[in-house]
Symmetry: C2
Subunit: 430 residues, 2 copies
């Protein structure tokens, strides 16, 4: 890593430690200040964003929509910063307290992870959404946004830095970097960066996962399944599948493959017709296609590669299965461990599905679209993780925390405890 970049990251670490040991009230004040700055500078922020939009005149409408800031979007950001300011301080929370002996008390308390590298595409709002969670949790951050949002990102990062400085903390806990070379170098710096959070396309996430040994919080794929059991209610099946597929087809928690118990097949056409009416293309395997055809519901033949494919649009693969075991085997083979649901009126089979399916979120009679930090009530969402280490599923601010063990004694030696000597008490402290 270049020495300039290394000293920037070390500066983030040093400043982060100051932010972490400041009081919770101080961090709350920084967030309050951030909200005010965003309001006071709304004109300049929109102007910076206008420059980005001008230079990005040749990009798609979808990208422009992501890139563009509006007064309404800014106000939404201000509101979310104020909400995060109102969150209880997540630092120093006691996770465990044990008396090892009289006057020898062990406490495990929440602490910030340290320095987080955030790499995101197009959406400049991510600077504030994640930046405010970073401040709330006493972490430091190195941010690398998309080139197309350069002016917006600079102006928003400056708001974060100024908010820290106005409250007497070092602005260096938040740093922005630009250029692809910087990212490659940072991804190799596992000694100074503790966690990487990518926000963007599957390709972005996958490429980061494959190019770093730093832990990555995120998910490349959202290949979700809904299994309609023999005993499923047609009404619930319709509600769950329609919402799961059409609520927001490009979301990671949208369903991609519908698994249908062969005994449910006779009722499939009603659901199929409803999906067709909302514009969903059905990619059906032979058995289900036959039933759909009989009832005049249009479908295209499923191809082998449709299993485990994230369509991200109004396309749904449909596959008939012989029962629960085959459905679960399919999910384990083709799923991405994100979110999978069963629709059934049979409680025992529902519980077997909940117990056996090895995914971050597993649902009974509910839309896969519920897999979301805000819907889960986590207060804010850092991301959704399909990893099994550290945090899994929708991740709130606790994804930015680790813990430390504090032991307060009176001069004790470990060698005085053990077989034939004093015994450790290990009593829980309330």
């Amino acid at each position: 890593m270049s020495s300039a970049l290394r000293s920037l990251v070390e500066g983030v670490r040093g400043a982060q430690r100051d932010v972490a040991q400041a009081s919770g009230d101080k961090r709350t004040a920084v967030l309050g200040r951030l909200a005010s700055l965003l309001e006071a500078r709304s004109g300049a922020l929109l102007e910076a964003n206008r420059r980005d939009l001008e230079e990005a005149s040749d990009v798609s409408a979808v990208l422009r929509a992501r890139l563009g800031l509006t007064e309404a979007k800014l106000q939404g950001l201000v509101d979310s910063v104020r909400q995060i300011a109102a969150m209880p301080d997540p630092l120093g929370r006691e996770l465990r307290a044990t008396a090892l002996d009289q006057g020898l008390e062990l406490r495990q308390v929440t602490s910030p992870i340290g320095v987080v590298l955030i790499i995101f595409e197009s959406r400049p709002d991510a600077v504030i959404q994640i930046g405010s969670l970073i401040v709330r949790s006493g972490n430091g951050v190195v941010m690398k946004g998309g080139r197309e949002a350069t002016y917006s990102n600079r102006a928003l990062i400056q708001c974060l830095r100024d908010a820290l400085e106005h409250e007497g903390l070092s602005p260096d806990a938040v740093a922005g970097v630009e250029g692809r070379e910087a990212v490659s170098e940072l991804l190799e710096a596992s000694d100074v960066i503790d966690l990487v959070i990518p926000r963007g396309s599957n390709e972005l996430v996958r490429s980061i996962q494959q190019n770093t040994r730093i832990p990555v919080l995120g998910h490349a794929d959202g290949i979700c399944h809904v299994y309609l059991d023999s005993n499923a209610s047609l009404e619930k099946a319709m509600t769950v599948v329609l919402d799961s597929k059409t609520g927001y087809p490009s979301a990671c928690n949208a369903v991609e493959t519908l698994l249908v118990h062969r005994e449910f097949l006779p009722r499939l056409p009603w659901l199929g017709q409803k999906l067709r009416n909302t514009g969903v293309e059905l990619r059906a395997d032979e058995k289900s296609r036959l039933v759909l055809q009989e009832h005049g519901v249009l479908s295209t033949p499923a191809r082998a590669e449709d299993s485990g494919h994230e369509f991200g649009e109004l396309v749904l693969a449909i596959r008939a299965v012989d029962g629960l075991d085959e459905a679960i085997a399919h999910i384990h083979r083709f799923g991405s461990g994100h979110t999978d649901a069963i629709v059934t009126e049979d409680r025992e089979r529902a519980e077997a599905f909940l117990r056996q399916v090895d995914s971050a979120s597993v649902f009974h009679n509910a839309s896969t679209r519920f897999a979301d930090g805000f819907r889960y009530g986590l207060g804010a969402e850092v991301g959704i993780s399909t990893g099994r280490i550290h945090a899994r599923g929708p991740v709130g601010v606790e994804g930015l925390l680790t813990s430390r063990w504090l032991l307060r004694g009176d001069g004790q030696a470990a060698g005085d405890y053990g077989p034939g000597k004093k015994a450790l008490l290990h009593t829980a402290l309330s």
Copy 2:
């Protein structure tokens, strides 16, 4: 990865899922069976170990001691397996329960991580120590032990596999592999292995950390500090420093560098003499060496590379500092974030140290040697982690767990909730 190795790991995953969904009582029975098998086969186990010792006739006495099994060691293993069998089932424990709406209940429950790769050196007892925690937590494991313990490892792994099979579970949840090539291939298989736990030398751990993108639970270095404040009690300083240095000098939680407030220096010779009397070599910086010399306490001049060095033997670096800030800066620069302690009678400074030092374990007036899973009361120790992700410090069985989110509904669609529609309740369920 060779197809044979891949199918072995996939077999572990499949069998692990069966172990995970079996009842807690079933896993308890497997552990009870394991203890009985170890007792019943003690003759054969000691014989296998004797063969290893014969073939390793040219190795050091230290290594032979680690490698050797005795009846007493075996009985210790049997006792620890029975203790782990008596642990409450760690799976399916509710971490959070929230009603999102009437009839829409979200629960976060503990689940096994999946497939763990354990790489260890010399000590065959690790097969049973970690293997029993793996079974307790419903995980699967691929074990690679040292070549010098080949026969012992094979016999012990067979006990684990037979215990699973005798209770009607697939033995394939526990697999042993041999040969260095297998390790290189496994370390690249981040798609099928969820966590790597290395147990052995710093070099082993470092080489694994540098050669895999799979998360690693462990620590390469244990560079621990004790800081003697101006206000330290000489008696407590003596107890804490002696125990921290001489209790088990090669342990990762032994102290390596003593930081001494310049106002404590006049009392340093008493402590220095006591350390000398127990055979500790003192590597003192100029200021502290001068004071030691005046009182006839022998020391050698500290070299620059002594800061941040893990001696692992009866050697202690000593360095005078101007106060708390310099001590903490030194710890952050040279420490490994394992365990650091302050000795002081000043409660405010103690609390500042506990708040500011960014290490897994931070102590006041207690020996660094307390940093240990058994001493912390974790019931068993998977390892000590200096990483900040997933688990930090001494790690018990929870280091082998992740969580899943289970949502039980009645056909709800996510699109029915939101601004202008139904509100999510987010009330905690007891």
